[in-house]
């Protein structure tokens, strides 16, 4: 029961007044920013990164965890009340949630989303606490060759398997890898892709890229075809609580959603789209009132996917913390935050930074409770934030984008990069290239290069090390299968 003892130690740290305050600030800011339409958890955390430069690592990560969970809660409010999901995981929530709000049941929709998020978030956090150390045990046996193969597997799943097109996903990924290569090569000391600019020697900051792709690109995209006219914000109608019948209809979907979501998050095939979609179809099948789906809005269709979304988001923290592998844009930005403190997530994190890790996990439990309390009674406040007029909202987002980039470096070159990459992001949006693989490739690319070099140093330059070590071979075969399998299946299905 070492885990329980560790967790107890974590709570002892997380429950100190100052850390509770960080958690509260994180939850509050996370919800407030997450509620803003079009802003998901990845951008929320990226925009808040400069806040943390002055505080201790433990405080900063407690703040981040609160922000992360808070942005998830806030995102569901937006999807239900104005049908503009801030991230892919809450698209499904908006399907039924917005319909419920239209038929005067916004209150129960928000309540089932909040309580479902709480239950799934807590189940997910329990999962992290007990499953994380198991993964660490396994991870400690992996050498650089296996790590490299695992990263290749991640590359394939985040770009080629998820999303609408493997070609476009991989293109985004390679663009991200290129961005990650800019700067001095740490092993050989050679400058790469700096185009003669000394500002680029230190590389491009991942926060800059995330802010460019999520904030600047979004603003440009919206302005290009802007038509004045207010978004319709639905009022919080109906009682902000669940009736007996609503409870009965929600409990099953909450637990099924959490059970679906967590494993998907843990697998390097991460992402929240798949589990939320699966949960939606499951609940639609199981519901006693399927006629409410897509018409007046079914509460099961909010409860299940919302739970799946939160459990998957918690699950994504497992590979991030234990292996150092980010499988979502949000995780990639959190990972870069760790790196800015000189901490490299991975199996050693649990031994070298045990206090930090367990305080972080404990703070996830605390954040969940805080968010449940913050969200339901304070819903009126979040709705007021929703009403920020679009012109002021985007003007404000760009001000904060400046702080997040110029504030770090005081270099106009960084602002130019911010806008150029934002412009590329706008074109990517027009041509349906996913942006998350860019951020992931940028973080994971240099790590994969390093693992590859270490593996080849150990094998004395013998490339066969990646296929002669059995675990590495199996992972590479799985990656090939994930890349080519769907295509062969499609070809076979067409012939058959």
């Amino acid at each position: 029961m070492e885990t329980l003892a560790n967790l107890g130690g974590g709570f002892a740290i997380a429950l100190t007044p100052i850390n509770l305050l960080w958690a509260l600030i994180g939850c509050f800011l996370g919800t407030a920013i997450g509620v803003l339409p079009g802003i998901g958890p990845a951008l929320t955390i990226a925009l808040l990164l400069p806040v943390t430069y002055q505080i201790s690592a433990t405080g900063a990560f407690i703040l981040f965890c609160g922000t992360f969970y808070g942005a998830m809660y806030g995102g569901s409010t937006t999807s239900i009340l104005i049908n503009t999901p801030g991230e892919s995981g809450s698209i499904i929530t908006s399907l039924e949630g917005n319909k419920m709000a239209r038929s005067g049941r916004a209150g129960p929709a928000l309540a089932t989303a909040a309580i479902g998020s709480f239950i799934a978030g807590t189940i997910g956090t329990v999962g992290i606490s007990f499953f994380g150390p198991v993964v660490v045990e396994l991870a400690l046996r992996l050498g650089p060759a296996e790590y490299f193969s695992l990263m290749v597997f991640c590359f394939v799943t985040v770009s080629a398997v998820l999303g609408s097109s493997a070609l476009r996903g991989l293109t985004s990924l390679f663009f991200g890898i290129f961005l990650g290569l800019i700067g001095i090569d740490l092993q050989t000391g050679q400058p790469r892709f700096t185009f003669g600019l000394p500002e680029l020697l230190d590389g491009v900051n991942v926060v800059l890229v995330a802010v460019a792709l999520f904030a600047v690109a979004e603003t440009l995209h919206l302005a290009l075809r802007w038509r004045p006219g207010q978004e319709e914000i639905l009022p919080v109608s109906g009682r902000l609580w669940l009736s007996k019948d609503d409870w009965k209809r929600s409990i099953g979907p909450w637990f099924r959603g959490a059970a679906l979501g967590f494993p998907f998050g843990v697998m390097p095939a991460g992402g929240t789209e798949m589990p939320t979609m699966l949960s939606y179809y499951t609940e639609r099948k199981l519901s006693k009132r399927p006629e409410e789906f897509g018409t007046v809005g079914a509460i099961e269709g909010v409860a299940g996917p919302e739970a799946a979304n939160n459990a998957a988001a918690a699950g994504i923290l497992v590979p991030m913390l234990t292996l150092g592998l980010p499988t979502s844009a949000t995780a990639a930005i959190m990972l870069s935050a760790f790196q800015s403190y000189g901490i490299q997530p991975g199996p050693l994190l649990f031994t070298q930074q045990a206090e930090l890790v367990w305080a972080l996990i404990a703070s996830l439990y605390i954040a969940n409770v805080m968010l449940l309390v913050l969200n339901l009674p304070l819903i009126g406040l979040w709705v007021r934030i929703l009403k920020v007029p679009t012109p002021l909202l985007y003007a404000g987002i760009l001000v904060f984008a400046t702080i997040g980039t110029y504030g770090i470096s005081n270099s106009v070159i960084d602002l130019v990069l911010l806008y150029v990459i934002g412009f590329i992001g706008m074109l990517m949006k027009r041509f349906d290239f996913p942006v998350a693989p860019v951020v992931i490739g940028m973080i994971l690319g240099p790590m994969a290069e390093q693992a590859m070099r270490q593996a080849l140093t150990i094998s004395q330059g013998d490339w066969s090390t990646f296929v002669t070590r059995p675990v590495s071979l199996v992972i590479l075969l799985l990656a090939t299968l994930a890349l080519l399998g769907p295509r062969f299946y499609a070809a076979y299905a067409r012939k058959g």
Binding site: P50, V51, Y53, Q54, S165, L167, R168, L170, T171, F174, F175, I177, F178, L181, D185, Q187, T188, G189, Q190, P191, R192, F193, T219, L220, L222, A223, L224, R225, W226, R227, P228, P389, P391, L392, Y394, A395, G396, L398, V399, T402, I403, Y406, G407, N410, V412, L415, V416, Y419, L427, R430, F431, D432, G445, E449, M452, R453, L456, T457, Q460, G461
Partner: protein
């Protein structure tokens, strides 16, 4: 899916290919390392460049067979381009770039704020100016004074 080549998608695919070619060219000018390394500094850059060239060509083939983006709901039902709004937004970004080093964060940010708000048809520009000043000034106080993050000194900041 139509069999006619899609012009927009062809251009996008060509851009990806060209970008990959630029990466290959820039990879070739990376100095070879004098230090021994199992993998030199050039290998992964070459992989990235080759990857993008290859993917660009595959996308090109896709574009010639009808492309992918013309069928997207967002593209098909897109409202007409708003030149005025987009121009104002670009002006806002340019103003921030040009002014931040001299006028400082608060004024550059406010000018940008107003132009962006204008781009999105803000109801009142006076109100946008006041809110912009409040937002940038508040952010400056919070980040520079309370947190000690240097977000650009300038005219106003020098006085404080």
């Amino acid at each position: 899916m139509s069999q006619k080549p899609d012009t927009a998608d062809t251009v996008a695919a060509a851009a990806v290919t060209a970008f990959g070619a630029i990466i290959l060219w820039q990879a070739s000018v990376i100095p070879e390392s004098p230090l021994y390394a199992a993998v030199g500094p050039k290998l992964v850059p070459y992989v990235a460049g080759c990857g993008l060239v290859g993917l660009g060509l595959l996308l090109m083939a896709h574009a010639w067979r009808g492309g992918w983006s013309s069928g997207l709901e967002d593209v098909r039902d897109a409202p007409p381009i708003n030149r005025r709004g987009f121009g104002l937004l670009l002006a806002g970004l340019a103003a921030n770039l040009l002014l931040i080093d001299t006028l400082g964060f608060v004024f550059a940010g406010t000018v940008q704020f107003v132009l962006v708000a204008w781009a999105f048809n803000a109801r009142s520009l006076v109100r946008a100016t006041l809110i912009g000043l409040a937002v940038t000034f508040g952010a400056y106080l919070f980040f520079a004074k309370a947190l000690g993050v240097n977000i650009g000194a300038g005219v106003l900041e020098g006085l404080l």
